[in-house]
Symmetry: C2
Subunit: 222 residues, 2 copies
């Protein structure tokens, strides 16, 4: 078990996250640079280093993907992040918009024993407070079969299953409009021009949701 720096772990985590929404799992240097808020040059440097350590498969000017080892580590970092978020919300009564930044620190604490005990303490949760799946010790995610609200069908009943945890402002907005996980959502109408949608929440409250907000929300069929 090679110990990685917090920086290296972050690279693997973000490569994993970006690879999930890219074609053939290939992540571009610039996309990583944008996520990490680093220069592209810095990213290139680190990709070479991670490649030397056999954690990523990197091809110059083409892109990067995780090796088997790199994937395993990325998933364990994600596991730690989500377990910590769960602890912060469930036990320490943080709100869901407060926990991401703290979990970004806690996810790099190096102790398998700690995370095993935390998992046990929390009762082996399958999803974190934002609805993100928590991989188990073996790295297996329970799948939730969600679709983005921006791509969901009209007039169909859904449940809010997952929201983007990275933007505190977005989560605060959800607080303000009192939208929580597992609320019922039905799209009543969609404006062609700006893709704003009209939704019905819990069959009683009607709202207008911007395209931007809808892209950060994920629903599943009832």
């Amino acid at each position: 078990m090679i110990l990685l720096s917090a920086v290296e772990e972050n690279y693997l985590k973000y490569i994993f996250q970006l690879s999930e929404i890219s074609d053939r799992g290939i992540v571009k240097t610039n996309d990583l640079a944008y996520k990490l808020e680093h220069s592209a040059a810095s990213v290139t440097d680190m990709l070479k280093k991670l490649s030397d350590k056999k954690l990523v498969a990197y091809k110059k000017y083409y892109g990067v993907s995780l090796t088997k080892t790199g994937l395993q580590i990325a998933v364990q970092v994600l596991r730690k992040h989500r377990l910590w978020e769960t602890f912060l919300v469930k036990n320490l009564k943080f709100t869901w918009d407060q926990v991401h930044a703290i979990a970004e620190q806690l996810e790099h604490i190096q102790s398998d024993e700690l995370i095993d005990r935390m998992d046990e303490y929390l009762g082996h949760p399958k999803f974190d407070p934002h609805g993100d799946p928590i991989p188990d010790k073996q790295g297996v995610f329970s799948s939730a079969n969600v679709i983005c609200l921006a791509d969901a069908k009209l007039k169909k009943q859904y449940l809010l299953a997952n929201v983007n945890d990275e933007s505190s402002a977005f989560l605060k907005y959800l607080n303000k409009i009192q939208l929580k996980l597992n609320d019922k959502i039905k799209i009543l109408d969609k404006e062609e021009f700006d893709e704003t949608i009209q939704i019905m929440i819990n069959e009683k409250k009607q709202m207008t949701i911007s395209k931007d907000a809808a892209q950060n929300m994920f629903v599943k069929v009832v």
Copy 2:
């Protein structure tokens, strides 16, 4: 509130701990180097840096002490360390010999809100699992009035109040001989030659304790 690196925080923490057992609170470069397991040259470099930041008062060839600001930060790091140790033992059921290394990482997580909520969650504990006092948010320690077992009087009834948390091996030894905090201890005899002591534990079990072990144990009068 200036954010310090984990390394800087560690320096302040160790300067604080060493100053408590030094004359007039002056800490020597070599003592710090030994504690930190760094070269003396590295320590000198860092002391200059901390001095520039007004966190320590450093005089070349003489020694270093904490400024008011440096002291405040050191105490808060200690507070975090001890609250985390308490959480690890009380809630996650770690044994007291397992928690120091993990707490050394956790103590550098930057979030006042986190530590306030953790303190609340744990019920504002005054002492950690090793009997070390946990300073409150204002940095005030509750004093325990302990003396080192190596300096304790013969034939007097004491309670084990505090043990050195830094050596996992020592704590494992205490586990083996089933000695816990608040156990009654009476020194029956002290060998002049090697300062080995004979103790009676809880008025029923007699044991021989080395000088080395006794120096890591602290007792208070019943």
